[in-house]
Amino acid sequence: METIFLIDKTVIAFIAFAITLLIATYSTYAERKIAAFMQDRVGPDRAGPFGILQPLADAGKFFFKEEIIPDTSNKFLFIIGPGIAMLTALMTSVVIPWGGSLNLAGRDIPLQVADLNIGVLYVFAVVSLGVYGIMIGGWASNNKYSLLGAIRASSQMISYELSMGLALIALIMITGTLSMKEIVEQQHGMNWNIFYQPFGFLLFIICAFAECNRTPFDLPECEAELVGGYHTEYSSMKLGFYMFAEYINMFISSAFMASLYFGGYNFPFMDSLGLSQNAITIIGVFVFFLKIFFFIFVFMWVRWTLPRFRYDQLMRLGWQWMIPLSLLNVFITGLVLLWYDK
């Protein structure tokens, strides 16, 4: 029993790991194609049909480039910085329920690596550790631009983490559980949390953009002021890790939004189709990925629509607007729940 359980989990973890890497790689392609579409250009089209092999070429290039470690840097910290960024990005996907459960040879196999009863808190813990990757890398570079980029990035990320936590509290009050799987199961069919927490979702998506350092919150690497931000000194695969970690974070936060607010693998009329459990699960996985791709598209859409904030605007939004508004959201949710439960 125990061994079979571990084998199942290993296989699921491996598949989820491979899919995460694949989607992160192809997000770079999607981003360039969408950017091209929005600016009326063609985008990458040389490597393979429609440039579909471009991400592979990029990855190969990252592997074969010379790695430069500046003389004045702290070598050990310089090397582990991108490693931490990548490791934390890869660890968050553990609690995401990718689908319902498959029934194979009489056993129910839930398509989730680990169903932790503190799933949401686990994600917060790991995401907080992500700040270390950026701060250590930026500081160890011993470059003024990197230092500025790193302290900007860390103070931005910790500021928005507060309101992200508060925005989720209103959701937790409704669901009454921190387990990702239970939260998704409660949204069976079309009973999605977005209908109960539209304002909370708005707060959450703003914080998600800030946490991923995406436009309009990409101050840590605003190229006009800081050259490349915290990864100015990085080259070769270490630079690749920072960029990769950013795309993985984008993918994971899209998966998070899809499963917390948009029903995860649930889709309307899933009970009235009369399909077997396995068929429903497989359709559910596809539906879940469609939702994720939609949010990844939103991330890219916003990037080519909104200009970057100034730093004082960013901080004012984070502390003076997001935190009071998310507290207000918690308060109103509490009042409505009390009224409704009575």
Binding site: L6, K9, D71, A114, S141, A170, I172, G176, V227, L327
Partner: protein, 132 residues
């Protein structure tokens, strides 16, 4: 063992097994990161020169190093984060059990949030959130 009754030990074992897959994922992730870092270190070209290994500064010669003091505002933000984040963590167990606590829990939390906001207001008046 540890003075727990047997049944409680069994519960702990069952709860612990949820976290095993986490270790599996950690092995995958750590293995991937370490392997890729080592491989790229081995296969990349190595042609170093003094200029190349200097830290970048707009193409001019580097002036000193980056171990400089930076704005106190960033430090203040970090301190405020620690304070407020601890308070936010207190919300989680309360939010999970919100429906069981009912009105009484709501009022208790309201008082807590009022104190939270009082500190927030103080910082606001002291212009801790104003960057210029």
């Amino acid at each position: 063992m540890l003075g727990f009754p047997r049944s409680e030990l069994q519960i702990m074992e069952v709860q612990g097994s949820e976290y095993l897959p986490l270790l599996i994922q950690l092995v995958f992730a750590f293995g991937f990161v370490a392997m890729v870092l080592i491989i790229t270190h081995l296969i990349g070209p190595k042609r170093k020169s003094a200029k190349k290994l200097e830290s970048f500064e707009c193409g001019i010669e580097s002036q000193g190093n980056a171990r400089l003091p930076f704005s106190i505002k960033y430090f203040l933000t970090a301190i405020l984060f620690v304070l407020f984040d601890v308070e936010v963590i207190f919300f989680y167990p309360w939010a999970t059990n919100f429906r069981e606590f009912g009105l009484q829990g709501f009022i208790a939390m309201f008082i807590f949030v009022a104190l939270f906001l009082l500190g927030f207001l103080y910082l606001f008046r002291k212009k801790a959130f104003t960057w210029d």
